[in-house]
């Protein structure tokens, strides 16, 4: 049962590709933090609070990328029935809800000193992100409360696809709504990044993507072993 490939032999013991990747990720996070906090210029209006942008935006990209991966994996699973796609979808969704939660929290933390409020219904992206969080939540609940594995995988794929289609429509609807019903003006959250902001941003993006991928790899390995164990258990019960 024990397949030995470099990464699977152990997690954290000895020097293999996985540990090197982990180390590199750690260094990237250090660089990114340094760049964001120290090197990046202090923004004129918002001051130090603006620096949360360096976490908020990369993670927003990751959150939206995750739901795209869920879409692709769902379609792939429905067409090929290969369980590895289902596993990918599941893990993407977990990563998705993690990153979306961070986005929402960091958005709130950013908003409070800048807008004077913890939340703003007039920011279409924030509202859409909240809706996306709810979609992830429903998706994960469906998975955990699902019946047999194959059936759960199929229905989760369907919800994953519908969830993805929903996001742009929701964004458009909310954007149109806020556009037509302007609430008291709040700080605009779109800024064109200058180069001095761009560099720390890119580092942060790279660093947090690496962190997320790391988490993803660990999860995949755990899930794979867990799935294999489940299958073996069941086979032993009836043998």
């Amino acid at each position: 049962m024990n397949k030995s490939s470099d990464g699977e032999r152990s997690i954290g013991i000895g020097v293999n590709r996985f540990t090197i990747f982990g180390l590199v990720t750690f260094i990237l996070v250090l660089i990114a933090t340094y760049m964001s906090l120290v090197v990046a210029p202090l923004e004129a209006v918002q001051g130090v609070h603006q620096k949360i942008f360096y976490i908020h935006v990369p993670l927003a990209f990751i959150a939206y990328a995750s739901i795209t991966v869920v879409l692709i994996a769902s379609i792939a699973f429905l067409t090929t029935k290969n369980p590895k796609w289902d596993r990918l979808a599941r893990i993407s969704a977990e990563i998705g809800i993690l990153s979306t939660t961070i986005v929402l929290f960091s958005g709130s933390l950013w908003g409070r000193p800048v807008w004077g409020a913890w939340w703003s219904w007039s920011d279409a992206r924030l509202v859409t992100t909240l809706v996306m969080w709810l979609i992830y939540m429903g998706y994960l609940m469906l998975r955990s409360l699902g019946g047999s594995n194959n059936q759960t995988a199929k229905v989760s794929s369907i919800i994953g696809i519908l969830g993805f289609i929903n996001v742009p429509i929701t964004y458009f609807s909310v954007y149109l709504w806020t556009y037509l019903h302007p609430l008291p003006t709040l700080q605009s959250s779109t800024e064109r990044p200058e180069s001095s902001i761009l560099m720390p941003f890119l580092w942060s993006f790279l660093a947090y993507s690496a962190v997320i991928i790391l988490i993803g790899i660990v999860r995949i390995k755990i899930e794979k072993s867990s799935d294999e164990l489940e299958t073996l258990k069941k086979q032993n019960q009836i043998g």
Binding site: G138, L142, L145, I159, L162, I165
Partner: protein, 228 residues
């Protein structure tokens, strides 16, 4: 042989006819939907009258929340009923296209929601003392009902075999229906406020587009959901 079996439109209608017949016999779904909606209205009246003194502003929200929850009552009942005596399996084993099952469910739920609104809208008019009987409301109600039914039908069948399907249905359905609810509530509010049609017609278009996209996507995927 393929001349013998019913065409898709015939399949849809015959499945739909069965649902109507059951409802006519049991009188269960429509009654519970109406009672549920009425209770919602009363709760809204009491909880908000004190705070705003003007419950009329809440009418669009009250209407569409009632529709949303009523749709789930209807869908839950419809699917769980089909599991008695395994009637759903019997239908699947017949020479019909799974797509017909989906369309008939959407059609049934839409019709039930329309029936609910025929009763509910005048009641809101009276109980909340708020004029709402506008003919312009009809297209809004229609596209909204179709949207709720189209997404509701596929989500209901996907959760049908899970452990807590009654809890899962609203949790998954609500975020997916956000564009529909947002659009319909806004349009309803605009109509009640007497705004000109060009101020809200785009919402009807958006919800209609949602309806088309989601019905199409759900129709494509439905057979995966009922496969065993």
């Amino acid at each position: 042989m393929s001349n013998r079996i019913p065409r898709i439109d015939q399949q849809v209608f015959r499945l739909f006819y069965r649902e109507l017949l059951i409802e006519f016999r049991a009188k269960e779904q429509l009654t519970t939907m109406v009672i549920f909606a009425l209770t919602t209205i009363i709760i809204f009246q009491f909880s908000f009258e004190m705070r705003t003194g003007n419950v009329k502003v809440l009418v669009p929200g009250v209407l569409w929340i009632s529709v949303f929850f009523a749709s789930m009552l209807s869908l839950n009942r419809s699917f769980s009923r089909d599991q008695e005596e395994n009637a759903s399996r019997g239908i699947v084993s017949a020479p019909i296209d799974p797509l017909s099952i989906y369309i008939s469910k959407v059609l049934t739920t839409t019709v039930f929601l329309c029936a609910l609104e025929v009763i509910l809208v005048p009641i809101i008019n009276v109980l909340l003392n708020s004029p709402i009987l506008y003919i312009d409301l009809i297209p809004v109600l229609l596209v909204g009902n179709i949207g709720v039914s189209a997404t509701g039908a596929i989500v209901a069948v996907t959760v049908a075999n899970t452990k807590s399907r009654e809890t899962l249905l609203p949790v998954i359905l609500l975020p997916l229906l956000l564009p529909v609810l947002l659009g319909c509530i806004t349009a309803t509010g605009a109509i009640i406020d007497g705004q000109p049609i060009n101020k809200y017609v785009h919402w009807v278009h958006i919800v209609a587009i949602y309806d088309i996209i989601f019905t199409f996507a759900s129709g494509l995927m439905f057979h995966f959901a009922i496969e065993n």
